[in-house]
Amino acid sequence: MDFFVHLAEGFIGMFQEGGKTFVGLVTGIIPTLICLITAVNAFIKFVGEERIERFAAKCTGNMVLRYTIFPILSMFFLTNPMAYTFGKFLPEHQKPAFYDSAVSFCHPITGLFPHANASELFVYMGIATGITQLGLSLGPLAIRYFLVAIVVILIRGIVTESITKMMMKRREAQVAA
């Protein structure tokens, strides 16, 4: 009999532990998240997509801006997955590189601006929860994640662009032969 009592208590205890975590997440993260996302959403609506498009299109000529500012703007204002529509401003051989660069920013941005990809928050949040449990502040991690990601998306953009160009040339050669 005791065995069953233990079993039952153990069973429910597992979910009580889960419930505690849930309450912690809901009261700890959601209120700030809601206010932050509301403010950013309103800001995006005020700025308007047309203005962003006009500005973003200016960043496409320069290789460094094309794989840093351009994908960051698209991710911030259009969010995942509509951000990838900005590929339309680029010539064909740069589109895969832009996609690669933009999509690689859709998690790093969530540390500072969770609105951009709210449904995939836990890539960052999952690891960040551990930092919170240790009583450490999340700020340094979020900022470094953001900054390192800028360098990473630049590298990805450049590497993917050159691979794309190479493959396109090879394909043209095959067609010609």
Binding site: F15, G87, A118
Partner: protein, 338 residues
């Protein structure tokens, strides 16, 4: 025979619903503007293109069954639903999405929001009115002339006035408040539909890990991998394998679950906190690999580009995935160490 023309009204990128085709008829000649007095430019534009008659529905009563469409500036509770319920095509100049007590009546077929003058296009076909109208005693022209005269008399009493200063401020305030309100609605929607369900899943997972002791077993697996640079590099190389990465991508679920596992171990002190940064990159070199064709299509890429683009991105990740981990490892020096 009638001179009415049909227009197509599309939504703004931030708006909802539509596109609506608006075609006034002799029975429904009015383009009602119920925007707090005056005729809204959108209403004026629709009237100009269709040949309908713009009326200030705020100051003059117009029967709903005589309206070809109605222009409102509702942020999303009352008017939004009333006119769709009455069967009137509704054009909202604010980017509202369906809400309020009458939400069930708001459909893409009777409602379009966020509309500006630039969203109104003339449809080429010249509309022919139903045969029944020609059977009525008055000709269409006469009816229309009568309606115009009626409106002219209504408007001559109160000449078309420019919105005054107070009205302008009122509208601007209304715009700001409406935008914030809509932003809040979008946010809560997102939290309810996306964030809370995942929190429930993650909490249950963490509860099971912490309570059952599975955590200790997992720690033995995760620690040697996520607890040092070599292990993290191995994870990133494996996750970026071109035949594996598209399978690991969908919904970032794998990355999220692994993230939670690593997070739990960091919280329990099994993995040093500064490794959180390289770990974030190590668990995620496959980001978006499942989505390349869709993402490229969104960017209006040609089919040939997509054919080349998919392997290009997958190949590139094999190189840049581990590079990102090394970069992050270097950048984590000094993080969370006194």
């Amino acid at each position: 025979m009638s001179n009415y023309r049909a227009v197509l009204v599309t939504k703004a990128t931030s708006g909802w619903g539509g596109p609506l085709t608006i075609l006034p008829t002799d029975e429904k000649p009015y383009i009602a503007s119920i925007t707090g007095g005056g005729i809204h430019p959108v209403a004026a534009r629709i009237a100009e293109l269709t040949g309908g008659i713009a009326v200030d529905g705020f100051s003059n009563k117009v029967e709903p069954d005589e309206m070809a469409c109605v222009i409102i500036d509702c942020g999303g509770t009352a008017r939004c639903g009333v006119y769709p319920k009455l069967g009137v095509l509704t054009v909202d100049v604010m980017p509202a999405s369906p809400s309020g007590p009458l939400i069930n009546f708001i459909k893409e077929t009777n409602f379009v929001s966020g509309v500006k003058e630039s969203h109104i296009e003339l449809l080429n076909e010249v509309a022919s009115t139903a045969e029944s109208t020609s059977a009525t005693k008055k000709s269409a022209q006469e009816l229309k002339a009568e309606a115009r005269a009626k409106v002219a008399s209504m408007q001559s009493n109160q000449p078309t006035r420019k919105p005054n200063f107070i009205e302008k401020i009122g509208r601007a305030m209304g715009g700001v408040v409406g935008t914030f309100y809509q932003a809040g609605r979008d946010t809560v929607d997102q939290v309810l539909r996306n964030i809370l369900p995942f929190m429930a899943f993650v909490s249950t997972l963490i509860g099971i890990i912490l309570f059952t002791g599975i955590g200790d077993i997992l720690a033995n697996v995760i620690k040697p991998l996520a607890g040092n640079l070599i292990g993290l590099l191995v994870i990133s190389i494996v996750c970026a394998l071109p035949f594996l990465s598209p399978l690991l991508g969908p919904g970032a679920v794998i990355a999220q679950v692994v993230g939670v596992l690593v997070g739990v171990e960091i919280g329990r002190g099994n993995i040093p906190p500064q490794l959180a940064l390289p770990a974030l990159f190590a668990i995620n070199p496959q980001v978006g690999c499942d989505f390349v064709p869709v993402g490229l299509t969104l960017g209006e890429a040609k089919p040939e580009t997509i054919e080349v683009g998919v392997p290009a991105v997958l190949l590139s990740r094999q190189i840049t995935g581990p590079v990102a981990v090394i970069l992050a490892y270097v950048a984590s020096i000094g993080l969370y160490t006194e």
